[in-house]
């Protein structure tokens, strides 16, 4: 297909289209300087066509490459010579059809098959120029065409005095071509699990309803015996290899079985509350559970303080008589606790029913070069965290908030580029294109138009986002609903009269025609 063959002739913004001569200004404005608002214009069509065409192809057949990093929110410090490996180990998944496509493309170019394999290194972000200790990642292909790897031997020494750090992931193809460098979210360094009762005044270590957690069990505190709660083949398992992130949220105490309860209950999770655990990847849940505090192999039935990171806890099946979530090698089963002879507020448990809870984070970087041959690393890959709309009337502005923004990024609404200003690594501001920029018809049609939001690097690299943008038609005169409500009790004649009145009032222009 010829580039631009499908272009609508007039990509209008609501500010009108100024002549292409001003296209050069566009290039000058790219340095990140704010453009004065009276100089809005669209880029020269000749310059924009190949990129717009690329975006259109992408929208028809998105072949994204996604780098997903899963990691814990806190890390325990290693003192002296000890090495407390991060638990659960940080994981990397390579997801999306783009990986296969890219590898095939590289194989086609160079017949040695091995050099299109992805490999990587993970380590801590370094302070100053200190040497960064990294660990090599070997990716293994999983059943659902994901590639998976994890860094099991990372730790932070007490010589590192930082309170927070990030993990750094560098990915390469085995022929040496760099894919990019990706960062985790911030990880808090702690010395050991908090023994104190958690105060809701300092909630940094608390776990809130709706957040993600990982649960693991360690027999006799042996690292080698660590098993992670996971979901495989539709069933909960205790895996030695892989861990899953679970959404932990407070259930409705009156009817904890109800699935439809929404929005979720908010707040920090305390011992004794009824909770739900739902696997973020598979959507499989455990029945309602009461989360209990564990101390010295027994469950504390009367504790209701907030839960803290790395606490040991047990999960009693709601409505059961002392049945707890327990592992038996790979399997997850129920275990009957026995009453404590001397203390009525305690029940005796076994080791396999004690779970360590830790909050987790996920970061997802998605990018594709489409058909253009881009050799440069894709990093820094931007992340969008939030959007904010301002203005209205003639001009509406959208602020895109996130991380790792650069001046060479533009915001795209579907296949329409928006005038974008770079403010900071955490903020881009753009002008919302008029709906007629997508198709002339859409100005007249009476249904909402939704387009995906993308970020484009100036060389055509596409960073897709999980955000979409919707234009909903609005009528200022149309008051159909209030009419119907007001006169609902009246006779149908009155209703008809009102509709007639409303029609003649709002359609005066039609009566004027002949």
């Amino acid at each position: 297909m010829e580039p631009g063959a499908r272009l609508s002739p007039e990509p209008l913004t609501h500010l009108g289209r100024l002549e292409g001569a001003e296209g050069q200004l566009q290039r000058e404005a790219e340095g990140g300087q704010a453009t004065p608002p009276w100089c809005w214009f669209r880029s020269n069509p000749e310059q924009i066509d190949p990129i717009r065409d690329g975006v259109r192809r992408y929208l028809q057949l998105p072949c994204d490459r996604t780098v997903l990093i899963l990691h814990a929110k806190v890390a325990q410090k290693s003192y002296g010579n000890e090495k407390r490996f991060f638990c659960p180990p940080p994981c990397v998944y390579l997801i999306g059809p783009g990986w296969k496509l890219k590898q095939e493309e590289m194989k086609a170019k160079d017949l040695t098959a091995s050099n299109s394999k992805v490999c990587g290194y993970m380590g801590l972000d370094s302070v100053g120029n200190s040497h960064m200790e990294t660990q090599k990642l070997n990716f293994e292909e999983q059943t659902d065409s994901k590639e998976f790897s994890c860094a099991k031997a990372l730790y932070i020494s007490d010589s590192d005095k930082r309170k927070h750090f990030r993990l750094v992931l560098k990915l390469f193809f085995s022929n040496g071509q760099e894919i990019g460098t990706f960062h985790s979210k911030l990880i808090k360094v702690i010395s050991k699990p908090s023994q104190k009762k958690q105060s809701l005044k300092n909630t940094e270590l608390c776990i809130s309803s709706g957040s993600k957690v990982s649960l693991f069990n360690r027999l006799r505190s042996q690292t080698v015996s660590t098993r992670y709660l996971s979901v495989e083949g539709g069933a909960f398992t205790a895996s030695a290899r892989q861990w899953a992130a679970f959404t932990l949220h407070l259930a409705n105490e009156c009817c904890p079985q109800s699935q439809s309860e929404f929005p979720l209950r908010e707040g920090y999770i305390r011992y004794g509350s009824v909770v739900r655990l739902i696997c973020t990847a598979t959507g499989i849940a455990l029945p309602p559970l009461i989360i209990r505090k564990v101390a010295k192999q027994s469950v504390m039935m009367d504790v209701d303080e907030p839960i803290s990171q790395l606490h040991k806890c047990a999960f009693q099946l709601y409505g059961s008589d002392g049945m707890y979530l327990c592992l038996s090698t790979e399997k997850v089963i129920q275990f009957q606790a026995s009453p404590c002879p001397r203390e009525p507020n305690r029940e005796l448990l076994n080791d396999s029913s004690c779970w360590t809870i830790i909050g987790t984070e996920t970061v997802e970087y998605t990018f594709t070069e489409g058909l253009s041959r881009i050799q440069d690393p894709v990093s820094p890959a931007p992340l969008i965290t939030a959007l904010e709309l301002t203005g209205g009337g003639d001009v509406a502005m959208l602020e895109v908030q996130g991380e790792y923004f650069q001046a060479n990024l533009k915001v795209w609404f579907g296949d329409v580029e928006a005038e974008t200003m770079y403010r900071s690594p955490k903020s881009l501001v753009c002008v919302v294109p008029d709906v007629s920029a997508f198709s002339c018809d859409w100005r007249w049609l009476r249904y909402p138009v939704t387009v995906p939001l993308l970020l484009l690097r100036n060389d055509g690299l596409i960073y897709s986002s999980t955000f979409s943008f919707t234009y909903t038609p609005e009528q200022n005169f149309f008051t159909g609903q209030p009419i119907l409500q007001e006169i609902a009790q009246d006779s149908s004649d009155t209703l008809l009269d009102t509709i007639h009145q409303e029609f003649t009032r709002t359609n005066f222009h039609l009566f004027m025609q002949s």
């Binding site: 973020t280 979530l325 038996s328 509406a396 007249w444």
Partner: protein, 289 residues
């Protein structure tokens, strides 16, 4: 002959500016609506008489122009109209075919016509030769009756449609074209009313708490509506309100909503099948891992 013409076009044919006259798609109806309302339907029925005879009267009279005065007088302007203003003359089927036939027949004596028109004409002539004058008159009368009935049914239908369309209080009776135009608009209006009714009853348009304020882009300089617009008959759009969603958030909420529950096994139930319903009475179970 001329007198008849002048009776119906009191100011004479030339007094009507042709463009304005034929611009209106309904040659005859427009004419009749100038008359008092009572005579309206009557006149429309009369037109059928005027309309019908020229069909063959004109043909017969074409060479010599000696036919019945009414027919010839009406035929001529129509033929002239068809010749002169045919591009702007696009009425419903019957007047147009009439004009076409007139035109074809008027041209045929000159010998220049030919084609389908001529062949059809020949066929008509052949058939007509076998028929007597009385027979023809009978046929003509039957045709007139049929045409009168057809027009009457169309007029009745328009009247029915007209009665369902809201009008302004001071509006005179709607013409057929305005009846159709407003009907299109009114149907659009009603369907919009029904459609927009549904989501509103569900409880408010604002979905996400993070988007409390409605931001609307207004449209300016919209062109005047035409019946071919998809939104014809609806009040003009004020603009579009803007909103956004995070698909990831929706997906997560959806996973929570549709979560399937997996219940861990109770090993006692597997080992002691008979006592399945008797858990309470069991002694504390010794777990073996």
């Amino acid at each position: 002959m001329e007198a008849v013409l002048l009776e119906h076009f009191p100011a004479g044919l030339d007094a009507f500016p042709p463009a304005a006259y034929f611009d209106d798609e309904e040659f005859f109806t427009d004419h009749s609506s100038r008359d008092p309302l009572e005579g309206d339907e009557l006149l429309e029925a009369d037109e059928v008489d005027f309309l019908a005879p020229p069909f063959h009267d004109c043909c017969r009279a074409a060479p010599g122009l000696g036919g019945p005065p009414q027919g010839a007088s009406l035929c001529c302007p129509a033929a002239a109209a068809a010749g002169g203003f045919s591009p702007s003359f696009s009425p419903p089927s019957s007047p147009s075919s009439f004009a076409y036939e007139c035109c074809g027949r008027a041209a045929s004596p000159g010998g220049g016509g030919g084609g389908a028109g001529l062949k059809a004409l020949g066929a008509v002539r052949r058939r007509r030769r076998v028929r007597s004058e009385a027979e023809l008159q009978q046929l003509r009368q039957a045709a007139n009756v049929r045409e009168r009935r057809r027009m009457q049914s169309i007029n009745d239908a328009f009247e029915g449609l007209r009665s369902h369309i809201p009008t302004l209080p001071y509006e005179k009776r709607l013409s057929k074209v305005d009846t159709l135009r407003l009907a299109i608009g009114y149907i659009n209006f009603l369907s919009e009313l029904v459609r927009s009714d549904l989501p509103l009853r569900g409880g408010g348009g604002s979905q996400s708490p993070c988007q409390p304020k409605k931001v609307i882009i207004c449209h300016r300089g919209t062109r005047s509506p035409s019946p071919s617009d998809p939104d014809y008959g609806l009040p003009p759009l004020a603009g579009h309100s803007l909103s956004w969603t995070d698909e990831k958030q929706l997906k997560e909420q959806n996973i929570i909503r549709t979560a399937k529950v997996w219940t861990p096994e109770d090993p006692r139930k597997l080992n002691k099948q008979p006592s399945l319903n008797n858990i309470e009475n069991e002694p504390p179970f010794d777990f073996v891992s």
